[in-house]
């Protein structure tokens, strides 16, 4: 089925999220929508899926104009969506989830689950999904859950499938498998819209690429275009995708973790006997699929995790048992995984956020008062130095884009005298331009002789930024390897295979 958008415009108040967007997705084609966060990709697909109504323009399926007043209409017309956050009920079986919303019934309104099971088996066999219709969804690996989402779309006869950032939650292997599935679906005649900002994936599967920037189509590209070309189209200027860094100038072992174990509040062990050392002037990347103990590991370093045993030392001083404040005072710079949750106070101004962890110390304090002039001057300076794009230092943090929020956090953390920098997924959700900037800052911190620990879930970031890579799987460090280790080996380690 051919999907065509003609001049679609969608506004939210003063913001134009989609501006006169026209795209044609032919049957049997994988069409990539490439763009940075905030480029309007998801809004556009929500228009296609009937969640939003376009202010102008029209949607055509096989050259017939469609009117969707809700997702129900879109589904009936043959559009299926695989959401970034799965819309599945974890305690239901695969079959139950798949039929949710259009349950087949037998005479007398009795649920006909057998039919659903057969259908799941049939589709699963056709596309090699290897799905058991009676498995409980919550107990399946993430990659398999995603296949349930796909089957859910297919079972309602979707001819156009929209994948919204489908690889964000997958391991490298699962990503490869998903790519294969997408190609199979295409060969079976489905039209596929693949939303992403990951260039490598685009180059691998796309038949056609449309690049969106600030709500507008900036052009089409062929899959043979280089990653750098695609990135420049996305950002609107030349970008350097590689992390430029020289060989590390290693100093002494500054940070050591020995026999560290940790338990969560329910008493379940989450970290198992971890040994790590990080030297001055070195970046150690902790790689792994999200949820394998990385969060807990950084919490332990920060002093924000209650139940631990073992030893964590910085410059010979034990960190376990110290308060967060004491550890920050020892020179820890901490960039949390979730910046809006743990790094910033959304309602505070940029100026206030820049002193969040220094609100009780010189030069920002005089007696019981905060020195407003110093706080302002500091903010002005940081705004320039870190290229934070904001209307003013009095804009609140919640008004900033993700990239600029991260710059505020970095500006604050790097402005203290650091002895250790810990950054958890420092580029999560950032656009290409901001990623470049954040990487530069991290490398320059490392070059100034600070030991750096980065938690990364993406292999590209791990291999480019790291001097060494420690791979975590299920709360254990399964190996520490050089940064030039192959993707295959790293992927296997992350999946706990090797």
């Amino acid at each position: 089925m051919k999907l065509e958008l003609r001049g679609v415009t969608k506004r939210f108040g003063a913001l134009t999220a989609n501006d006169n967007v026209s795209i044609v997705v032919e049957a049997g084609e994988i069409h990539c929508l490439l763009g940075e966060n905030g480029a309007g990709k998801s809004t556009l697909m929500n228009v296609v899926y009937g969640l939003y109504q376009a202010d102008e323009g029209e949607i055509l399926l096989d050259d017939k104009v469609q009117k969707f007043s809700g997702p129900g209409d879109a589904m009936a017309a043959g559009i299926g969506m695989v959401h970034q956050h799965f819309m599945l009920i974890p305690v239901f079986t695969v079959a139950e989830n798949v039929i949710l919303g259009h349950e087949p019934v037998k005479f007398g309104g009795v649920l006909n689950l057998a039919k659903a099971r057969d259908k799941v088996r049939e589709l699963s066999a056709r596309f090699g999904f290897d799905l058991d219709p009676d498995a409980i969804v919550g107990e399946l690996p993430v990659g398999v859950q995603q296949r349930v989402e796909i089957i859910k779309a297919l079972i309602s006869d979707a001819k156009v499938l929209v994948f919204d950032e489908p690889t964000a939650v997958l391991t490298p292997q699962e990503t490869d498998e998903l790519m294969a599935i997408m190609k199979q679906l295409r060969d079976a005649g489905h039209s596929i819209v693949f939303i992403t900002h990951k260039l490598r994936e685009v180059k691998e599967v796309a038949d056609k690429i449309t690049v969106l920037r600030l709500g507008k189509v900036v052009g089409e590209a062929s899959p043979s275009a280089s990653a750098a070309e695609l990135a420049s189209m996305m950002v609107g200027r030349a970008v350097d995708l590689d992390v430029n860094k020289s060989a590390p100038k290693l100093g002494k072992d500054a940070f050591k973790m020995a026999g560290l174990s940790a338990w969560n509040d329910q008493g379940t062990q989450v970290l198992f006997d971890i040994d790590l050392e990080v030297r001055e002037g070195e970046i150690l990347v902790i790689a792994g699929v999200q949820g394998n103990g990385q969060t807990e590991l950084t919490e332990v370093i920060l002093g924000n995790h209650a139940r631990t045993s073992g030893s964590v030392t910085l410059d010979g001083k034990e960190l376990l048992g110290k308060s967060i404040k004491q550890i920050l005072d020892l020179g820890l710079g901490f960039v949390p995984e979730d910046r809006t949750q743990d790094g910033l106070v959304g309602e505070f101004t940029i100026a206030e956020n820049l002193i969040l962890d220094q609100s009780d110390r010189a030069p920002f304090v005089k007696g019981p008062s905060i020195r407003q002039d110093v706080v302002k001057a500091n903010a002005q300076e940081k705004l320039k130095q870190f290229d934070i794009r904001a209307q003013s230092i009095d804009s609140t943090a919640s008004q900033l884009s993700g990239g600029n929020q991260q710059k505020v956090v970095l500006a604050r953390e790097l402005s203290r005298d650091l002895r250790l920098l810990v950054a958890s997924q420092p580029t999560r959700g950032l656009d290409v331009g901001s990623i470049e900037f954040v990487h530069e800052q991290i490398v320059s911190a490392r070059d100034s002789g600070i030991p750096v620990i980065i938690v990364a879930t993406e292999l590209d970031e791990a291999t480019q930024l790291g001097d060494r890579i420690a791979v975590m799987y299920r709360g254990k460090v399964v190996g520490i390897v050089p940064a030039d280790t192959s993707r295959t080996v790293l992927g296997q380690m992350m999946a706990g295979v090797a």
């Binding site: 108040g13 920060l302 924000n304 308060s323 967060i324 404040k325 920050l328 005072d329 901490f334 949390p336 949750q341 743990d342 790094g343 910033l344 106070v345 959304g346 309602e347 505070f348 206030e352 969040l356 962890d357 609100s359 009780d360 304090v365 019981p368 008062s369 905060i370 407003q372 008004q399």
Partner: protein
């Protein structure tokens, strides 16, 4: 955390919304006044033969009531001399003094993300300790007066701080703890007023001896007027709370905690200690309200010392969006409603309970913004 989110939403109400909420409540109050009015009832029984009568009666009832309220709360233009004419506004300010003080206390807690509804208990503890000092401590006035005020601050501060301590050490929910602490304070006061600790030796009723002359807040306009120098203490408190929240290090940490406890924690702010400090400061302000009542207005300790000020303070803090000047304005509005209710009942026979209904309606409208938006067809605030 749900209470926290609701709190945030209410504090985010716009000034226009607040204005319309007050207006809507007064209109609704007008409807109730009209329904209860005898003339309105009789004239409406023959509405179709002489509708003019009914509408006239309607107007008379509502306008008469609100006119009486104005004369009781702001300026009595029927008074024989200027001194008496301005007495209503001084009454309004006197009523508003404890409401604003306790409202400021709650505002500090609300801005820090703590839903303190224990102003009643904190006022009572302030009043008890302050009253005890003012009744029994033998000292010259220049020592006794500041000591009695300080005792109020300490009493409220400790009673509030204890809630903070329970929250930080055991994770107890402050809403439940403060409600229970209100009951403990109310009945503890009742108990002590029946024992020699507070009861006046010669009295048969649960009443204390009067406070000593030297411990009293002097009256600003002399006898015949309620307004005392506690009013200026209240204005000073408004300024102090403004400074605390907007300029001080402590207030910065309070607000950080209120908006995002997780980020505050990661930034090294001691959350547990901050909970205790917030509640202590919050309680201390209510404690001053208690001291101001016992030393300025009541001058004798009874079980009714906190009146409904503790509850009004919640409304006022929410209505004033927990900003010091907002609380001052809302507190004066509530003082005026309270002062006006008396005249309205005396002159027009409109039960003063109507004012309580109006106050409750204000909260209802503030807490349900979509309702007011729908009534007045206001656009939904667009998030930038």
């Amino acid at each position: 955390m749900k209470a926290n989110r609701i709190l945030k939403e209410i504090l985010g109400t716009s000034a226009a919304m607040t204005f319309f909420a007050v207006l809507a409540s007064l209109l609704f109050g007008g409807v109730l006044i009209a329904i209860a009015n005898e003339n309105v009832q009789t004239t409406f029984s023959y509405f179709f033969s002489r509708p003019g009568d009914a509408l006239g009666a309607l107007w008379n009832a509502v306008a008469g009531a609100y006119d009486a309220m104005f004369r009781g709360a702001i300026y009595n233009y029927r008074a024989p001399n200027f001194g008496l004419a301005i007495r209503p506004i001084t009454d309004t300010l006197a009523f508003s003094t404890p409401i604003v003080l306790a409202g400021l206390g709650l505002a500090v807690a609300f801005r820090s993300g703590l839903f303190n509804i224990g102003a009643t208990g904190q006022i009572i503890f302030g009043a008890m300790l302050s009253g005890w000092v003012a009744i029994y401590v033998d000292a010259p006035g220049y020592v006794l007066f500041p000591l009695a005020v300080l005792a109020g601050i300490v009493g409220g501060g400790l009673w509030g701080g204890l809630v903070g301590l329970l929250k930080s050490s055991t994770g107890a929910n402050e809403v439940i703890v403060t409600i229970m602490f209100n009951y403990i304070a109310i009945y503890l006061l009742g108990y002590l007023l029946k024992t020699p600790i507070l009861k006046a030796p010669e009295s048969l009723n649960p009443v204390s001896s009067p406070v000593q002359e030297g411990a009293k807040f002097p009256l600003i306009f002399g006898e015949g007027y309620r307004l005392h120098y506690g009013f200026f203490l209240m204005l000073a408190a408004v300024a102090l709370v403004w400074w605390l929240l907007n300029r001080s290090t402590l207030g910065f940490q309070f607000r950080a905690l209120g908006h995002n406890p997780d980020a505050a924690k990661v930034a090294g702010i001691n959350i547990g200690l901050t909970y205790i400090l917030v509640m202590a400061v919050s309680g201390a302000l209510s404690g001053i309200a208690g001291a101001s009542q016992i030393l300025g207005t009541e001058r004798v300790l009874t079980t009714g010392v906190a009146a409904s000020y503790g509850i009004d303070a919640i409304t006022v803090a929410l209505l004033g969006r927990s900003k010091p000047l907002g609380v001052l304005a809302a507190g004066i509005l509530f003082g005026a409603l309270r002062a006006g209710a008396v005249t309205m009942q005396a002159n027009q026979g409109v039960p003063s309970e109507i004012v309580l209904i109006v106050q409750s309606m204000i909260v209802l409208f503030i807490a349900a913004p979509p309702l007011v938006r729908a009534i007045f067809r206001l656009p939904k605030a667009v998030k930038a």
